[in-house]
């Protein structure tokens, strides 16, 4: 590549929050009794380098606007990518018409004025340096990461590529109770997906990545490539095992999904509908005494950090599970009202529809042992490095997923295994988390250390 790639989409001249405020004002003028508007603008860069050659290069920007209007207790929403006066007018008009077909819902509404606000100070969410590398060097970052994986071992003969991504975005929210807020976030990542092949022709792929809000905090291309190679190589020669009841250790990448199930279980939307096996369990023991789960939307630099939630309420830290006791659900304004509780400022908002519930920085508190110490205590067991499929039923807690990983023999990772299943019930599984390691690291808004769960069925031959 000899060309440069510094062309960026010009920013809107008007501040997003001014547009949002104006839309709210116009909605109220049009007869709405309350209104809320979100405006988003973002740009993205991504490149994939495969076997040393640039495969794709993508660069673009976009923006969109969404509005939610209320007629008393009826609400509807519309969105558009057309920012012209006529486009916004059309969007508002259809929202006001649409609200008429909705039902009166006594719990509908935007937050009270007193609840609204924004965290002050620099939350460390935006770094201009994600775009500081010239285009050719971004490609080079991806190329070096892939090369580190390809050079790691002769059995790594192919690859789905190395990639480098960067993105920045601005989010503004305004509502008719006087809230106006806006924040910017940045993001960059490097990833590699190597493919290893053994003497019999059997192929395995795995991956590794690093992600950060600032380029300065991104792991080196070489570190990422080498780790991707290590994770891929250890899968070569994987075999099936016999059906067994053994201790199961989940590496942080898969333990993460277990924490995600707790999140879905305490999600106020599932709770008020009785669609969660954790509904009605507030104050009760739902996990082992070693389990403490926290949601914290305020951590500086966090992937789940925002100054305010999707409804304009300052984010906060919520103790979800303390020593195994369910202390709080995660709620937005609507679900809090339905349950007679206070919102936990977890409203997440897309462009359209009613606000959902999303995590801040949501994590399982780490323990003191290293993952190796935990593995060393197991005579015969499974170390899971990947789950396949979505076999968790949050209504009943029934859990069954495909898995691959390593078999543990006498405290050591002995050989790779695949084409097996892991099954149990989430209600028991949270109580049977017998070990929690010290290796907590955030690679997204949900994070877990390595954990050990007992009492699961490993399905195989």
């Amino acid at each position: 590549m000899t060309t440069t790639l510094e062309t960026h989409t010009p920013k809107l001249e008007t501040e997003l929050q001014e547009i949002a405020t104006d839309v709210v004002r116009r909605a109220m003028k049009g007869g709405a009794t309350a209104a809320e508007c979100v405006v988003r603008e973002g740009d993205e860069f991504s490149t994939v380098v495969r076997l040393g050659q640039v495969e794709t290069l993508k660069e673009s920007g976009s923006r969109a606007i969404g509005v939610r209007v209320f007629f008393g207790q009826r609400a509807a929403s519309t969105y558009s990518s057309d920012f012209s006066a006529a486009g916004i007018e059309r969007m508002l008009k259809s929202a006001l018409e649409l609200a008429k077909i909705c039902s009166e819902d006594p719990y509908a509404g935007i937050p009270e004025a007193g609840q609204l606000g924004s965290l002050q100070g620099d939350l460390d969410l935006y770094h201009e340096d994600v775009y500081s590398l010239p285009g050719a060097e971004r490609i080079e970052y991806a190329r070096r990461a892939e090369k580190a994986a390809l050079d790691a071992d002769p059995r790594i003969k192919n690859s789905e590529g190395g990639s480098f991504d960067a993105a920045t975005g601005r989010n503004a929210l305004a509502n008719s109770h006087g809230f106006v807020g806006e924040y910017r976030r940045s993001y960059c990542s490097v990833a590699v997906v190597p493919i290893a092949q053994d003497a019999n022709g059997g192929m395995q792929r795995d991956y590794w990545y690093s992600v950060a809000r600032s380029l300065a905090k991104l792991d080196s291309a070489e570190q990422v490539g080498k780790e991707a190679a290590r994770r891929t190589l250890r899968r070569l020669g994987a075999r099936k095992v016999k059906t067994a009841h053994v201790p199961v250790v989940l590496d942080p990448m898969v333990a993460n999904s277990m924490l995600g199930h707790i999140f879905e279980g305490v999600n106020g939307d599932s709770v008020y509908r009785g669609a969660s096996f954790l509904a009605g369990k507030l104050g009760q023991k739902i996990a082992g005494t070693n389990v403490t789960v926290i949601d914290d939307g305020t951590m500086p630099g966090g992937f789940g950090t925002t100054p305010f939630d999707g409804e304009g309420i300052p984010t906060r830290r919520t103790l979800v599970i303390e020593n195994g006791i369910l202390k709080s659900y995660l709620l937005n304004t609507y679900t809090a009202k339905k349950l007679g509780l206070e919102t936990t400022a977890n409203a997440s908002r897309g462009l359209a529809g009613t606000p959902g519930i999303g995590p801040g920085n949501y994590f399982l508190e780490p323990g003191t042992k290293t993952p190796n110490q935990i593995i060393a205590e197991i005579k015969d067991g499974l170390y899971v490095t990947e789950f396949l499929g979505h076999g968790a039923n949050l209504v009943t807690g029934d859990y069954s997923r495909g898995a691959s990983g390593m078999w543990i023999v006498n405290g050591e990772l002995a050989y790779p295994v695949e084409e097996i299943t892991v099954a149990g019930n989430l209600k028991d599984m949270f109580c049977n988390i017998s070990e929690i390691a010290s290796d907590l690291e955030f690679r997204g808004s949900i994070a877990s250390p390595t954990i050990r769960i007992d009492g699961l069925t490993v399905g195989g031959e």
């Binding site: 495969r50 899968r235 499929g389 495909g402």
Partner: protein, 486 residues
Amino acid sequence: MVIANQEHFFFKHYGLTNQDLATYLTAALSAGGDYADLYFEYLTSTSLMMDESLVKSASQGISAGCGVRVVSGERTGYAYTDDLSPQRILHAARTAALIASAPSKTTVAGFQQKPARSLYPLALPSVDADITAKVELLMRADRAARGYDPRIKEVRASYADELRTILVVGSDGTFAEDSQPLARMNVSCIAKTDASSGRGTSGGGGRVALDFFFGDKTPEFFAKEAARQAILQLDAREAPAGDMEVVLGPGWPGVLLHEAVGHGLEADFNRKKTSAFAGLIGKRVGSEKCTVVDNGTMPWRRGSLNVDDEGQPTQETVLIENGILKGYLSDKLSSKLMGLADTGNGRRESYEHIPMPRMTNTYMLAGQDDPGDIIRSVKNGVYAVNFGGGQVDITNGKFVFSASEAYLIENGQITAPIKGATLIGNGPDVLTRVSMVGNDLKLDEGVGTCGKDGQAVPVGVGIPTIKIDRLTVGGTAKRETGGFMQ
């Protein structure tokens, strides 16, 4: 916005001319490149949700944009804009052009529109239909589900439709327009007793108008089906664990084919030799009884398209014929690089996305066996009739799909319902264990969405009743015979 005539939509509504299109493509090829195309998209959508018998959410939206792609050898440059003004499209074209670094050699050919099918001609797309009629569908579903059984405690019904109008032009003269309607409704139910709970979901749709839901696939049909599944779950036993005989019912269990073979036969993975199916063309990957096709030309189907998102007419492609691997699903890039025919499977989620080979409607042809005989032939196994989603690792071929409604088969009889369980197998050999294929091919009801590389597209699946001699079932029950390793 009601748009009566979709023909030349972008010319009429955005003032585009053939000359503009040629100018943009020339700009895209200004730094070299073998091929460039423009994908214009205008999408209107509606979605409604009823919960607790209230219409709690209603939304509508419009998005429009243009994606510009430049291909140079194996390299693809891509840029898009949500502003269809000439300056913004030109800017995107020049950004995408930066991928190419050779002196310009490709010129823009004169546009030629090929005759295309009309698989989903609608007088009135549902997105423009009276919204109160859509609300009525939800109310009927809610009533029917609640009336099914007093143990049904929660019902959520949703309806969504869209109309996607596209124009694809390419430097090779490609010129294709299409107007793609899509509608679906879903019902989910939760059943509860003091001792137990269960959930059921059902839904359907296609590239259809609102009247589809007033035919035999009524809101009551979907509601009763969701309620039936939820009630059934109340008494479900633990599922067995380990390898056993598995019978799949007809229809949605075709998700097996989508995961086990479909993805692995997408040409991009085979061009890069990252698929477990790479190099297996002409080899046996299934029993004699297995013939699998991908067919984008089925009228009204959710996975069908008149033209793909690169402007190529869709077709019926034989993937596996009597167990022998016959072909891949390809797009323009893969067909050019691999010297294969373009099967019209180049699809993308939206103008923000680069097209790639994707499935349309993927199914197994009917066989000769009587479904009753298939069940009777099983001594000890599982009969799975409804599934959630699935997933595949295309490199090692391992795939899963999660049964949401399944039963034990004991001595040739379907007996007790069992809890949901994941089934796991190996794509390149699972079909070699298919020993019986029913004469009852059925396609799914039309709710499938496939995800690949972060892009979601609507698809269909189908299968007759089949028997797989050995597949791993991921349950929890201890088997009475056969030992566990403890």
